[in-house]
Amino acid sequence: MTEELRVSVDRRDGAAIMYTKGYINNVGGEEIANRAYELMDGGVRTLLLNLRETKIVNSIGISILIEIIEKMIDKGGKIAFCCLTPVIHKTFQIMGLANYAAIFTDEDAAVKELAI
């Protein structure tokens, strides 16, 4: 049984919006990390993850997201999230991710606040 995560990216000037579809587990988390690190290496310092089409996450996947946030902070950048289900939002808060990354209800609000 597999629940493969799909990732797509909307690249903008110094920023990017990453869209995920599917289960963020260890494999999905690594896929997000690989794409995020490519973007960081390419100069992206503001990254918005739109999880509109992700309904399930697990703690291993979230731990990888935290590693991505750490690396972005080390580079002087920032990561934000939008379009979380209420349960994913709650899970992010439990694991402390919400303390280090902004969370927006929708993409429009995130884009406006992040100026991307």
Partner: protein, 146 residues
Amino acid sequence: MTASPELQMELTLPMVPDIEIAAARAAGNLARELGMASESIDEMAHAMIEACINAREHSGSKDNRIYVKITGTSLGEGNSRIDIWITDHGRGFNVTEARSRRQQLGTVHKRGWGLQIIEAHMDEVSIETSEDGTTIHMVKYGKNDD
């Protein structure tokens, strides 16, 4: 008087990647039969996923199986209750130590959050663990969808 479970399901699952999704879907289907609200089902699914991952990743199970039992009960007046037991035949674990883990950025403590997530998403959680295995019993109460 305690209501008798109306729905019951037992699964024996192999410890393979993403098997937790099968367990969560089974519980979700049973809860939907009772009419439980989708957000309660979603919380229950995330708790089940963590319980199954803990069994798969950390139990050191001898038989590489996860045993799942799910019961569903209508409580009347649009309320329902789901009981879930997740059992492995692994080596057990220290519950106090697992509960005390705290995550901080910049530390190695990013992993090991399963139990905290389970307890946050479920209404009741009890754990029986020994060197012969672990059973985690979780209860979710929910208002039914209109």
